[in-house]
Symmetry: C2
Subunit: 194 residues, 2 copies
Amino acid sequence: MSRTADRPAQGERLSQAVWSVLAEQGLERLTVRAVATAAGCTTGLVMHRFPNRRALLLHARELLHATTRARVEALEAAARGPREALRAVLHQGMALDEQTRQEAIVWMGFLAAAVSDDNLIEEHRRNNRSWRSRVERLITAAAPDWPPHRVATTALALITMTEGMAAYAAADPAAFPAADQEAMLDAALAAYRL
Amino acid sequence: MSRTADRPAQGERLSQAVWSVLAEQGLERLTVRAVATAAGCTTGLVMHRFPNRRALLLHARELLHATTRARVEALEAAARGPREALRAVLHQGMALDEQTRQEAIVWMGFLAAAVSDDNLIEEHRRNNRSWRSRVERLITAAAPDWPPHRVATTALALITMTEGMAAYAAADPAAFPAADQEAMLDAALAAYRL
DNA sequence: ATGTTACCGTAACGCTTGTTACGAAGGGGG
DNA sequence: CCCCCTTCGTAACAAGCGTTACGGTAACAT
C-alpha cells in the first residue's frame, strides 16, 4: 500500500492533534499547520487524509464523542446499581483533573466553532440529545416510579449543572477544586432524592 | 476637537459591533475588518481607538459584564423579597429569548477566546467570582440560618446549572424551550428549599 | 527486477489577517 | 483668517492562512 498504511490510526492521531491544539492553544490558533506540527507531520498528510479543514474538525469532534461515550458506558457497566451508575456518569462530566479539564476546554472550543459551522452544530445537537436521553434513562432506572416530566426536568437540571460546572472549573481550576465539585453533585443528587 | 468627538459612544459602538459579530458569525470570523463593517466604519477608526485587536476584545468583554451587571442589579432592586430576587437573577442568566440566547453565545465565544489570552481569562475569572459571591449573598438573604458551606454549595449548583442551561439552549434552542428552562429552575429552587 | 499505485513531504498559490503609515477633513485657538 | 491638532478613511505591508500541484519514495503485484 504505502509507507505506513495505517489509515484509521493516522486519522485518530490527527484528531488527537486537533484535540491537543484546541486544549493548549485555543480555537484561534487551531490551524492546519498547528495540527500537523502537533501530529508530527506536515500539512500534506493532513490534507491528504481530509478534504479540508472543516472535515478535520468534524472528525475530531466525532472522535471526542466516541471516546466520551466509551468511557461513560464502561462506568455504567461497572456500577453496582442504577444510582451509582447515575452518579458515576455525571461525575465524569465535570472538570475534576487535568484530563477532564482539557476535555471541557476542547468541548467549549468545538461549541464556539460550531457557531459558524453547520456540520459541527448538527453533531453537537445530536450528541447533546443522546447524552440527555442517557441521563433520563439512568434516572428512570434509579427512580422507576417518577412521572416522565419529573425525570425530564431532573435530568435537565443535572446535565446542565455538570456541564456548567465543567465550564467554570475549566476556566478557573483554582477556584473550583474537585472536592467542591463533588460536594455540589452529591448535594444536588440528595436534593433531588436520587 | 474632531469630526465626531464622542469618544465613549464610539467605543461602545465598537464593542457592540464585537458583540454582534461574535453572536452572528462566531469567534473564527471575529476580525478587525468584520468589526469595522458591523460598526459602519473602517479599520482605521478601530485601530485608532484601540492599540490592537486584543484590547478591543477585552473592552467588549468588560462592556458585556457591565451590561449584565446593570440588568442584574435592576432586577434585584425591583424584587419584592430575597427569594424573588434570587429567582429573577438566576432567571436572566439562562437563554430564554433571542436576546439572552445571543448573550450566551457571546459569553461562550469570549470564554473560548480566553484560552489563548491572559487578559481575557483574568477578566473572565474576576466576573465569575463576583457573580458567584452575588448569588451567595442572595441565598444568604433568602435563607439566613443556613451554614456557610451549604450556601456555597447551593450557590455553585444554581450558578453552574443556569450557565450550563444557557449553553445548551444557545446551541439548540428548539430542544430547550423557555418553559422547560423555567420549570427546571423552579424545580431546583424547590429541591434546594429556596 | 520492474511497473504501478498509493502515500506524503515540499513548495507554491491566492487570499485574508493584524498592523502601520500617510494624507485628507474639519473644528478650536490665535 | 489661518494654523494646528485630532480624527479617521485609504492603502499598503509582512505574515499567516487554507488549499493545490507536483515529485520523490516505498510497498505491492507481476
